[in-house]
């Protein structure tokens, strides 16, 4: 198995991607560990539960690597991957619309199933955070899809305006505009919950 450490720099990512697409397990490991967190966070915010988010992440990775002809390499693989993952998440969300009402429960259940416990053990604070998470999730769902996706790619995908623009095929001015109005709406919805 060829080493991947030599290709670990972003400059070598094209080679890494090509190797992963040909079935190189080490290259896939490296790509997966590099991008899984951002991809998962984006999928989770779009879907509202961990199980669906992992499904979308899985589907997105496979599609991103098997449809490389759509990746024009004008931007990074992360941009391409998050585009495919967010598309997969939105498709999955449409298919599983009925789950949206249960997303709050699913979110809470996922926390307990994952075994991840917050560093603090204050039940009141845990309840507050769970409540706030639900409120944020519901508020995001009230945004138009284009605004929601733009907002999530920026906040949870850790993308710059340029990267969001490349991912969605829109101008930076449109990214700016969508983010501005998304935040104004979120403030209106969450005014009582968030101190501006």
């Amino acid at each position: 198995m060829r080493p991947v450490t030599a290709q670990a720099s972003p400059d070598g990512e094209d080679v890494l991607v090509a190797r992963a697409a040909r079935g190189d397990g080490a290259a896939l490991d490296e790509l997966f560990s590099r991008h899984r967190d951002h991809a998962y966070r984006v999928a989770y915010r779009l879907l509202g539960n961990s199980e669906d988010a992992l499904d979308a992440l899985q589907e997105g990775f496979i599609k991103a690597l098997t449809h490389l002809h759509g990746f024009e390499r004008r931007s990074s693989f992360k941009t391409w991957l998050l585009r495919v993952v967010s598309n997969a998440a939105l498709d999955l969300g449409r298919q599983r619309r009925r789950r949206e009402r249960l997303s709050v429960e699913a979110s809470n259940r996922a926390t307990s199933e994952s075994g991840q416990t917050p560093e603090h053990s204050d039940p009141c604070r845990e309840a507050e955070e769970s409540d706030l998470r639900s409120a944020v999730a519901e508020a995001l769902m009230m945004l138009p899809e284009s605004q929601r996706r733009t907002f999530i790619l920026h906040v949870d995908g850790g993308m710059s305006y340029r990267e969001v623009a490349d991912t969605m095929g829109i101008s930076i001015g449109t990214v700016m505009s969508r983010l501005f109005y998304a935040r104004q709406k979120l403030r209106g919805i969450l005014a009582s919950r968030v101190q501006a």
Binding site: G12, D14, V15, A18, A20, A21, R22, G23, L28, D29, F32, R36, Y40, R41, Y44, R45, S50, A53, L54, L57, Q58, F61, I62, L65, T66, H67, L68, H69, E72, R73, S107, A110, T111, E113, S114, Q116, E128, E129, L132, R133, V136, A137, H154, V155, D156, S160, Y161, G173, M176, S177, L179, F180, A182, R183, Q184, L186, R187, G188, V194, A196
Partner: protein
């Protein structure tokens, strides 16, 4: 509440200002404007409050992390699907290559078919074509303006590129991507791979890119 849109100042700039996405010049412009428009500070605070930098908001509501087992299972599933996709692709290409090899063998073994269309009494298949047009007229070939290159590595000299069939809307068709098998595709000196289609696309075919004469 959004501040009424001022003349000649796009409020959307406040989002980019809050996110640190503006140039120094644009930041100065926004700051000058804010100094004279205090009512817009509330909008700026909103942009900052819901920006990615507000860890007090986004920290507690972060998506719950999947367990280590979930990550492993997801990674393994992706690996399995990729191996399956590669096997299917190579099996398809191998089968196609076998068919092409058989067809090529038959072309050499069987006698060449007679051309019937040179007769003024054209058979039904040639209706609409002028007498003698079959095999006599040159096929129209694409000019460089007709070719859409889909993928071209930066240092493409001598490498394979993939393009769109220049005559795909016409009657002439050489081959589809699914009918071609790559025997050897390598990197250039910089270690980069040319784009090679992973899945058969009916209207896309590979093209060979030859170095231009000096």
């Amino acid at each position: 509440m959004t501040t009424p849109r001022p003349e000649n100042f796009p409020l959307e700039l406040l989002a980019a200002y809050a996110d640190g996405e503006l140039s120094t010049e644009d930041r100065s412009r926004v700051e000058c404007w804010l100094a004279e428009n205090h009512e817009a500070l509330e909008d700026l605070e909103t942009q900052e409050a819901f920006g990615p930098g507000n860890v007090d908001l986004w920290g507690p509501v972060s998506p719950p992390s999947p367990s280590a087992d979930d990550w492993i299972a997801t990674r393994e599933c992706i690996g399995r699907q990729m191996r399956l996709a590669n096997r299917v692709r190579w099996a398809g290409w191998a089968g196609t290559f076998g068919l092409l090899a058989t067809a090529a063998t038959l072309m050499f073994v069987l006698p060449a078919p007679q051309h019937n269309c040179v007769d003024p009494e054209l058979p039904r298949d040639c209706d609409g074509l002028p007498p003698g047009s079959i095999d006599d007229e040159p096929y129209p070939m694409a000019s460089s303006a007709d070719v859409r290159i889909i993928s071209l590595p930066e240092s493409a000299s001598g490498l394979l590129v993939v393009g769109e069939h220049p005559l795909r809307d016409s009657f002439l068709s050489f081959a589809k991507m699914s009918e071609v098998q790559f025997h050897n595709v390598g990197t250039d000196l910089a270690g980069r791979f040319p784009e090679v289609m992973n899945e058969a696309a009916d209207d896309v075919l590979p093209m060979l890119w030859a170095p231009r004469e000096p």
